[in-house]
């Protein structure tokens, strides 16, 4: 805490000094409602520092940032949804290492600090490791969203195990209703929601060590463990009776549109698996915790894999060095930067120094509990894989799989692209 106060003082000193107002550009993946949230945070930074802060959001951020960096016109700060891409950019020399001591700060002030430091540390152009990325805004992915009222009306219980979840899905289907809404559409990134399913299934069917081997390509995509996880996802997505609109709708439905089926009357579906950010896309005025709620995507009741949790986060990195860019990273260390977004929607933070009362609703705290109750926490695998796989063939492969392609063909194609990736 003392360190927090000290660093906040340092920030204030930096900001209140005769610092020249600079223009600083920030590029990120957030558009729509999330853009308003990040603007609020950056607005607070602009006010405190006097800098002119400009945010540009793009739903093909992953491509745009590469083009901008190669063209030499990168924004000052880029917000990567994928550490894998940030690592590639660091290797090419497009990222500037964060200020000295940032790693120590994260270690002291973030829950499970070392893991966040590790996830933000990449090899630079000369091959030596440095801390390039600062994690801000974390998501928990192992969540299933539902409408408690609908569950009550139909007499369904929140399942405690994966087996119960499947039984519940079957029961809903037997009742002539549709258990799931699944949407994989996301413009150029179509397919990514399926990778979350597969990763969650991986953690529920294999020990974490296998998951780590998968992420680092020590076992191939064609390994029975991976194939099994994909097929476990297929049990849900490839079952016409289990998904709203049938299998054909899964790949074409936009992930932002998909949860709306929960709110239909009569409901188009009863459950929707998606990360903690999704309330940003719920219909206007719906209260999380009252109108809509979530439960932990349950682990298998058999075996001893515990309660695994899948998560992700956005990593902020300096793509165009300037004093103001470092000031912005300093600002992200302050509790204020976290509390502004906490008061809004879809934000979790591992920052230990924040005032938890700032959360807009108690359910976000419940998510934090899931995070803390995890026996295993793993970062989104596709975000850690090379871009060609994690943001390419894995996505298209999942779309092909949902479209009816054989799992063996899909996985060998993905593995092929990984072997070819540089």
């Amino acid at each position: 805490m003392k360190h927090t106060i000290k660093s906040s003082c340092a920030v204030l000193a930096l900001m209140s000094g005769p610092a020249l107002a600079e223009q600083i550009t920030v590029a990120g993946p957030w558009i729509g409602a999330d853009e308003e949230h990040v603007q609020a945070v950056l607005g607070a930074f602009a006010e405190a520092s006097g800098h002119d802060v400009r945010y540009t959001g793009s739903d093909s951020f992953e491509q745009q940032i590469v083009i901008d960096a190669e063209a030499g016109s990168a924004p000052n700060v880029a917000v990567f949804p994928q550490p894998g891409l940030a690592a590639v950019m660091a290797e090419r020399g497009f990222l500037t290492p964060l200020a000295e001591g940032t790693g120590d700060w994260i270690n002291e002030n973030y829950a499970a600090g070392q893991s966040w430091v590790d996830l933000g540390t990449y090899a630079g152009p000369d091959g030596s490791d440095a801390l390039y990325g600062f994690f801000y805004k974390v998501d928990v992915k192992s969540l299933v969203w539902y409408i408690p009222e609908n569950f009550e009306d139909a007499g369904y219980e929140v399942p405690e195990t994966l087996e119960e979840l499947k039984a519940l899905s079957q029961q809903i289907a037997d009742d002539g209703e549709t258990p799931w809404c699944i949407g994989l559409g996301s413009g150029g990134a179509t397919g990514w929601p399926a990778t979350d399913w597969v990763e969650d299934m991986m953690l529920r069917t294999q020990p974490p060590s296998v998951y780590d081997q998968w992420v680092s390509n020590e076992i191939p995509f064609t390994d029975p463990a991976v194939v099994g996880a994909i097929e476990a996802f297929g049990e849900f997505a490839l079952n016409d009776a289990w998904v709203s609109g049938g299998t054909g709708a899964v790949a074409t439905t936009d992930f932002r549109e998909s949860p709306k089926g929960l709110f239909d009357a009569p409901p188009a579906c009863y459950m929707h698996k998606q990360a903690s950010f999704i309330p940003s896309f719920f219909p206007e005025g719906s209260e999380v915790g009252e109108d809509v709620d979530f439960f932990y995507f349950p682990a298998s009741g058999e075996g001893d894999l515990g309660q695994p949790v899948l998560g992700a986060g956005t990593v902020w990195a300096i793509t165009n060095d300037s004093p103001a860019a470092h000031e912005l990273i300093e600002f992200l260390k302050t509790p204020e930067a976290h509390e502004i977004w906490m008061a809004r929607k879809g934000f979790l933070t591992p920052h230990k120094g924040v005032n938890l009362d700032a959360f807009s609703d108690p359910t976000l705290r419940k998510m934090n509990d899931i995070l803390l109750g995890a026996t295993t926490f793993r970062f989104d695998a596709s975000d850690l894989m090379p871009g060609a796989v994690g943001a390419g063939s894995f996505w298209t492969g999942m779309v092909d799989y949902v479209g009816g392609k054989d799992v063996g063909t899909v996985t060998s194609e993905i593995q092929q692209s990984w072997d070819a990736a540089k």
Partner: protein, 334 residues
């Protein structure tokens, strides 16, 4: 500074600079380098006239070199090298090409491009010719032509968005907001997620480009039809030719050159097709095409070697058609 003021200054500097370049370089040539006076006046005038065209061409040649030749050479170099961490390069020979050929997605893209190449220019030209002929002599022909031509004014991405709505899919039982599914359902059919049906979805994407390019074909061919000498048609009528014979045996042969130009121009558009595929399916569900494959390799896989290699393939495919197109267009003009 106010952006409008910046714009005005840019225009003044740009236009003024161009005018100044031509005026002063010309002045320099005539007054300083080879003045048309003194003992060598005659020889100097000839020399100045030899140099003048190059002087006037120079800005265009330099700009073309910078924006056309340099990228081609650079792409060729990138396709033959691999990156090493830290910004260096290493010679890779044809490794990128062999890797690309081994990639099943590349084969799919090549096949789909061929499919596009056969279908789109043929149908666009045929529909354009049909529209040009049918609207030629009727009172509301101009209105019909404007409507057919209108899609030309829409960007490819805009058109893709419009057609994505046409193909939109909702589950059976729900209200269909896609025109196509709404029709199918009203006829008692089952709604289909059109864009996810392999092979056929290629044709659904092609429909968008045909929709756009028919107007272009129609305008050019309509002008060509007007240019046919009335006497030939009249002579055919006198000889007792029916309308079909007039069209296929008299009119079409006379505008064959124009048809070829229209055909090849659309072919080149097709070879570069990217926006429609990117915006509608992003190459998924087996709809990949070469340009989108290139984008995917360059900016998603960050593989500049294979990406540049596929760019070279597109260029090699476009070049002969482009040459033929220019040759035919010049022949037409004579």
């Amino acid at each position: 500074m106010h952006p409008a003021l910046q714009g005005v200054i840019t225009i003044i500097v740009g236009v003024g600079g161009c005018v100044a370049y031509f005026y002063f370089s010309n002045l320099f040539l005539d007054k300083v380098l080879y003045p048309a006076r003194g003992p060598n006046a005659g020889r100097n005038i000839n020399r100045a006239n030899l140099i003048r065209p190059w002087l006037f061409l120079a800005p265009a040649v330099i700009a073309l070199g910078l924006y056309l030749a340099y990228p081609v050479v650079e792409t060729l170099r990138l396709s033959l090298t691999n990156r090493v961490p830290g910004g260096g390069y290493e010679w890779a020979g044809l490794e990128n090409y062999s890797q690309m050929v081994a990639d099943p997605k590349f084969g799919e893209a090549l096949f789909n491009n061929m499919l596009w190449l056969f279908v789109v220019p043929a149908l666009s030209t045929a529909f354009g010719l049909l529209a040009a002929q049918l609207t030629d002599r009727i009172k509301w022909g101009a209105v019909a032509k404007s409507i057919i031509f209108m899609p030309m004014a829409i960007s490819f991405v805009g058109a893709a968005v419009i057609w994505k709505l046409v193909y939109d899919y909702r589950a059976a039982g729900e209200e269909q907001i896609g025109v196509l599914n709404a029709i199918v359902v009203s006829l008692g059919g089952e709604p289909t997620a059109w864009l996810t049906v392999p092979f056929w979805n290629n044709f659904f994407l092609m429909a968008v480009l045909i929709w756009i390019q028919t107007g272009f074909a129609m305008v050019i061919l309509s002008a060509a039809l007007r240019g046919i000498p009335e006497e030939t048609v009249e002579a055919a009528i006198v000889d007792g030719a029916n309308p079909f014979q007039i069209f296929f045996k008299i009119k079409v042969p006379q505008i064959m050159g124009t048809i070829v130009v229209v055909w090849t121009t659309i072919t080149i558009v097709v070879l570069k097709i990217f926006d429609i595929v990117f915006a509608m399916t992003n190459g998924q569900w087996e709809t990949q095409v070469l340009a989108n494959y290139m984008y995917d390799k360059l900016f998603r896989a960050n593989d500049w070697g294979v990406g540049s290699a596929s760019a070279m393939v597109i260029m090699l495919l476009v070049t002969p058609i482009l040459v033929w197109n220019v040759y035919n267009a010049r022949k037409e003009m004579r």
